[in-house]
């Protein structure tokens, strides 16, 4: 699907503030409410954008600890990625899984209520994942910026 300047303008405002009601989004993008709604429907139908999803603040639910775990996998094992990812999906405290080209192969975002629980998850659920060659941990101190905006 080709997008034009109007679509791009709507997307820019939508991604900058995904919670905006349609009427306000339309106003910011300088189109009518009906146009805005139709354009969004079309982009959703084409798979360019997903329906808005709620963002869960895990900290407000009592998960005080968030750690970014960076893994190197044993690449002599051809099924290392698939088996590692399948096992990681079984750990409820894993909230995101990313794969990379670079020094890191896979990254898992792990949350826990406190350091004691984190240590338990780390020992019992993370270190037991298959085909790990190396792990590095980055502990999140603060998120300074988090946006989905694209420089469209």
């Amino acid at each position: 699907m080709q997008i034009d300047d109007t679509d791009r303008r709507i997307l820019r405002h939508l991604l900058a503030d995904p919670g905006l009601p349609n009427a306000q989004l339309a106003e910011r993008a300088g189109v009518t409410g009906a146009t805005c709604w139709r354009r969004l429907e079309r982009m959703q139908a084409a798979g360019l954008i997903a329906p808005p999803a709620a963002v869960i603040n895990w900290r407000a639910m009592g998960y005080e600890v968030e750690v970014s775990l960076r893994f190197n996998l044993d690449k002599t094992e051809p099924r290392a990625f698939d088996e590692f990812l399948a096992a990681a999906r079984e750990v409820p405290e894993v909230i995101a899984i990313e794969t990379f080209l670079g020094r890191v192969d896979v990254r898992l975002n792990v949350i826990a209520r406190d350091m004691a629980q984190y240590q338990e998850i780390y020992r019992k659920r993370i270190l037991t994942l298959p085909h790990i060659a190396d792990i590095e941990a980055l502990m999140l101190i603060a998120t300074i910026k988090e946006e989905s905006a694209l420089p469209l």
Binding site: G47, P92, L152
Partner: protein, 152 residues
């Protein structure tokens, strides 16, 4: 902190897939009346557990074919250098996420670019010129997957 029951967790699971699901539809799925579902959603919003919305986009289809995570170590430290760095890095439009972390690096950045050449431009002109920047490690994102987290 708010105590959540199974219905709250089921609501969060539904809304984290599609935040536009109506209270009527949520109620039907969970065996609640429309007003009861609405009240629960409202309570989760007021407790800060539902912290807004996000819209996932097909970045390559919109012309952003490359997402890179950067680990950045500052060369000089101290309160002033952290603030200078944070102010400058959050102003870069291609930088979507800035996290202050503890470990191998001081900051994690998520950077979007049109292609590798565009990424090189952002890296050289914008990132490497940031105040206090030291060692930088880049990993190119291949796949990403958001998991439901401990809501089961």
């Amino acid at each position: 902190m708010m105590d959540l029951d199974d219905l709250d967790r089921a609501l969060l699971r539904s809304l984290s897939r599609d935040a536009t699901t109506s209270a009527g539809e949520l109620g039907r799925r969970l065996g609640l009346s429309q007003p009861a579902a609405w009240r629960r959603v409202k309570r989760l919003e007021e407790a800060g557990i539902i912290a807004g919305r996000r819209v996932a986009v097909d970045r390559p289809a919109l012309g952003f074919g490359v997402t890179v995570f950067l680990g950045v170590k500052l060369a000089t430290k101290g309160r002033v250098s952290l603030e200078d760095f944070e102010r400058a890095v959050t102003a870069i439009p291609e930088v979507q996420v800035v996290q202050h972390v503890l470990g191998l690096f001081d900051y994690r950045l998520r950077v979007v670019a049109r292609d590798i050449a565009d990424f090189e431009r952002v890296l050289r002109r914008r990132i490497m010129t940031l105040p206090g920047v030291g060692q930088v490690e880049a990993n190119v994102l291949l796949t990403e997957e958001a998991r439901p987290g401990p809501l089961g």
